[in-house]
Amino acid sequence: MNTQPQEAPARKVAIICSKGGLDEVYPALILANAARMSGIGAFIFFTFYGLDAITDKKVDHLHVNMVGNPSSPLPTMLAGLPGMENVAAKMMKKRMEELELPTVREMLEMLDGAGAELYACQLAMDMMEVARTDLVPQVKDVITAGDFYDLADGAQIIFT
């Protein structure tokens, strides 16, 4: 029998995901996954544009912002042209496929299987007019910032 309690590991991390770009969502997801792989409890709180990552219709269509992004490989003048964003997103997706990086949807499934808990922000859902049914099934609950702090009691909070 397992003597190690699985429900409440001592160390916890609480990750806030507030942005919706493809490059901005992955850090939160990977941090949570790595935490779970080390046996650390993980929660992710999706707020504002982070909601896109857990909205069923949008999760497969996240883009990277190339304009005004100093790290972007494209100069802003080119990046602003119509269609360039799609091109950049496609190229990034292709590279991720080649490296066998999981898609955002797949990462959410992995996190759910690993025991990480995913929460949506109530306020952001009201603002973006997202209903509970629009979210991916892996989301555990819709909570407020206060609830989040209760959950994060004793946890290390990471803001992305």
Binding site: Q6, I30, M37, G39, M110
Partner: protein, 321 residues
């Protein structure tokens, strides 16, 4: 003339001899008769045959068989002069592949294509020379696009074959180039594993223990409740793994007893490590062994990647996923 004494016995003997001679002569005459009969019958037939064959040969000559035959003989003569028995032997050795190539080249599809191409070359019709803009315009044509794709494919094959013939390694794809830089990425077809990331040489599991990147106990973790610290996962000697050791480790880590499900995963992980030289992370285990994430976390809490590698006697997996 000598007198011959004639008595009864000698007369009888003489008679016998005469009889025998007569019989022989009769037989000879008979034979002669048969022969002349045979010749008489064969005569016309022979003449017919002779007439017919002469006619056929004449016909052939008129149609040019003999002229062509003479030229063919000259050709054979040239070939024999030019090539030696060595060449014929080499040809014989490669005969099958030669015939295969001929067969491939004379497939109806290819012949059709070649025919159309040759027709275009022979009767170009009205063609204007194309410049850069003309080429750009023509590249909108679907047929041209298909032809370009086909030609590129042929070129690709030629390049590949040349590379193989010259003995170079197959061209690195962008995938394998990128993969070889990110360690420890496990891809079956990747370029040779970079030395820096590979934890151990593959053949024997005798590897230097993987150095611990983190301290054994960080200040923020309470030691009693540290779930699976890096120190726990330090595998001292992968080559000396035994099942009993795995059972002992399982007790220590709190996952004992090891059921068949546990062992299935452990065996798979060991096989994977032996095959690829790198410990598989959780994602690889879920994809390769068929056990899903939830199951893995249930079987090997709290950190399946590390617990499984500890139980399997291999270094803990790297990577983020």
């Amino acid at each position: 003339m000598d007198t011959v004494s004639l008595n009864a016995a000698s007369v009888v003997a003489l008679e016998a001899k005469i009889d025998a001679l007569t019989a022989q002569v009769a037989w000879l005459v008979e034979r002669q008769r048969w022969q002349s009969e045979l010749l008489a019958e064969l005569g016309p037939i022979g003449r017919e045959i002779l007439a017919a064959s002469t006619g056929t040969l004449d016909d052939l000559e008129r149609r040019g068989y003999f002229a062509v035959g003479r030229e063919l003989l000259k050709m054979v003569d040239t070939v024999v002069e030019h090539y030696g028995p060595e060449d014929v032997r080499l040809l014989g050795d490669n005969l099958i592949s030669l015939l295969d190539t001929v067969k491939a080249v004379t497939q109806p599809a290819l012949l059709e294509v070649a025919q159309e191409a040759s027709q275009t070359v022979n009767t170009p019709g009205h063609l204007e020379p194309l410049g850069i803009w003309g080429m750009l315009k023509e590249s909108q044509d679907e047929d041209v696009r298909l032809g370009v794709a086909l030609t590129l494919q042929v070129l690709r094959q030629v390049g590949r074959a040349t590379r193989k013939r010259v003995g170079e390694a197959p061209a690195p794809t962008p995938t394998s180039r990128l993969a070889s830089r990110l360690a420890p990425r496990l891809r079956a077809e990747a370029a040779p594993r970079p030395a820096a990331s590979a934890p151990a040489p593959r053949p024997a599991l005798a590897a230097a223990p993987r150095p611990n990147p983190a301290k054994a106990a960080s200040p923020s973790m309470s030691p009693a409740a540290a779930p699976v610290g890096p120190a726990d996962m330090c595998v001292v000697d992968p080559a000396s793994w035994t099942r009993e050791q795995a059972e002992r480790d399982a007790v220590e880590l709190g996952v004992a007893p090891l059921t068949a499900e546990h062992w299935a995963v452990i065996e798979w992980v060991r096989a994977e490590y032996t095959a690829s030289g790198a410990s598989p992370n959780v994602r690889r285990i879920t994809r390769g062994s068929g056990v899903d994430t939830k199951e893995l976390y249930r079987l090997f809490p709290p950190a399946p990647g590390r617990v499984v590698s500890r139980l399997a006697g291999i270094p803990k997996p790297g990577g983020c996923l």
